[in-house]
Symmetry: C3
Subunit: 251 residues, 3 copies
């Protein structure tokens, strides 16, 4: 199975699907092609959350603002999974979840038909070869060379101080839920009562519908982290936060 | 075959695809993940229109504003199809089309990894089990219990009075066509001439392009209902209507 | 394999998938359902760029503002590929790339359940029949008649005059790259230095990231044509152009 992820929107993902289908019978499943354009960090977050739900697969990931520059082309083996994409850090948080220690390889010299669409011309063909050759033995592909230092996206660790946790908003999902880096365990005891967020009190609850329509709440999202949300509305707007903003939780 | 529908946008549907692919070789086809967030009624309408075009399948439907509350988790057998989703009415209009009388089951006690993403943690695993076990014998799954009363979404019936039909707009599609609850039969005789909509006269025609570009028309949509449209434009804007608004057709 | 393309957005493509799946085990791959509504020209451009990356397939294309009028329903054999869609020119640029000379057939009289959704009622069933019957012998389908004159979308050829090329913007992609009809060969020698676009000088470079974030550049896109772009931004906005606008390149 090959999964496909990108920030392409339409119609470029179809060219990648065509390239793969031309050389392989691999099953293809789209993860998402709507990652914010060039936003390596947001893509890295979501891939870390979603890819571990897949059976052993080759994950083709093309969020690649440096396309055509000398950034390396990587294939990573992580457990029974492989990830193929640019060396800009987007692959690493997911790789750590899929199997640590992971092993990285760099594609040696290659010809690309274009310098602007390596998804089609470089990454999709490489993902297909890794898939058909077998993830376990991908190191035997002669144009893959072991590579030690690769770029990584790192998410900050929240800081705990007395009865306060200083974290930040990592991403906002399509519902408007503001997802923080604060582990849900910090609010488990408060579910049903409340917490203070950036100085203001809010109910903490297990589910969105535990508060009235349009009301704010603090909950634990499906990723296990603290989430600022509104029942049937947008948490990012109601809490006035966006990715990178500080979230100070007090109890 | 398992079909997937939700109001998730991206990237949450991919987690459901991963969960299914981990346990089953079932073919997966996406119906739509762009239903308006939390809009059970609109999703119910479109599922009723689209699902009957599928061969026998398990239809996973997650438009679930009550996620994590005590709303039941349902599996419905309707003809050779199954529907899996929350007990909020979203499944029922489609179930009636797929096979009546349909039979409903409730999932007994279950553990969910999250209280905010039952699509991934509860519904997708249940749909997979129903699929692999077989729709015909789904009642034999030991954690499914027959259930009599379930929630339903009901669409209003238009009222006919002399030469006037009082209906309403049910949904607006992406083209801007305002789809009413008025059966197309009411305007069949008027195609090629005209009808009065909320007091104003408009041409009635079989196809959009029967009127000039940018002109309003009344037509019979692919669902068999009267539709307020504009050739190459948005009917909802031109007619000034949105879902729930009254439409009074006179002849 | 059957590929699906349309300007439907959601949820109408699912009805086509259901119709195909009801009659065939054909693998289905979505190309794009987000083509601008009714924009035959843009769809024709992208299909010409993307479809040649696919292995032999039946390509179902429904961008059909004339649905329900007397425009013909076409099936085209081009090399080992087939294209099925309306006779409005949308199929032709791709057909020329897939195999010339191509051969066109018209569907004879047919019954359609609706006059507004031939994608579901006419084109999808025809694509399925062509697929299952075999592209090579599609002419043997008894309701297909050879057809000589069909509509075509033609893209203009740029005019070269001394050291100036007069072209135009054909489409703008989702990143905001303004894609012209000017072959990349005209700027190959200028990569690394610069060119004049509509009287103003800009750097010309092989990759977006060759200029600073937010800076304009002229590059050669993955389609081989000259593209007006911004590194990490929208070229159409920065250059002030939209499809159909003149682009005058000077060296």
């Amino acid at each position: 199975m090959i999964t496909l992820s990108s920030d392409f929107g339409w119609p470029y993902p179809a060219a990648m699907r065509g390239v793969i289908a031309s050389d392989s019978d691999a099953r293809m499943i789209d993860i998402c092609h709507e990652f914010p354009r060039g936003d390596v960090r947001t893509a890295a977050f979501w891939l870390r959350e979603v890819l571990p739900y897949f059976p052993p697969s080759v994950h083709l990931v093309v969020v690649d603002p440096g396309v055509g520059t000398d950034r390396a082309v990587l294939a990573i083996r992580a457990g029974e999974h492989a990830l193929v994409g640019p060396d800009n850090g987007v692959l690493v948080p997911a790789a750590r979840e899929l199997g640590e220690p992971f092993e990285a390889f760099e594609l040696g010299e290659f010809d690309a038909a274009s310098a602007t669409f390596h998804g089609r011309d470089v990454f999709a063909p490489l993902a297909t070869r890794v898939h058909d050759h077998g993830v376990a033995s991908m190191g035997a592909l002669e144009d893959l060379e072991p590579r030690q230092d690769i770029s990584s996206v790192e998410f900050p660790t929240p800081v705990v101080e007395h009865d306060t946790v200083h974290g930040e908003v990592l991403v906002v999902d399509g519902f408007g839920n503001a997802i923080t880096n604060i582990p849900g365990g910090h609010v488990t005891d408060r579910l049903g009562s409340g917490v203070t967020v950036n100085g203001e009190s809010f109910p903490a609850a297990r589910s969105y519908a535990a508060v009235g329509p349009g009301e704010e709440l603090v909950t634990i999202g499906s990723h296990g982290n603290v989430e600022l949300a509104v029942n049937g509305g947008r948490g990012d707007v109601a809490f006035g936060v966006e990715p990178g903003d500080t979230v100070m939780l007090a109890f």
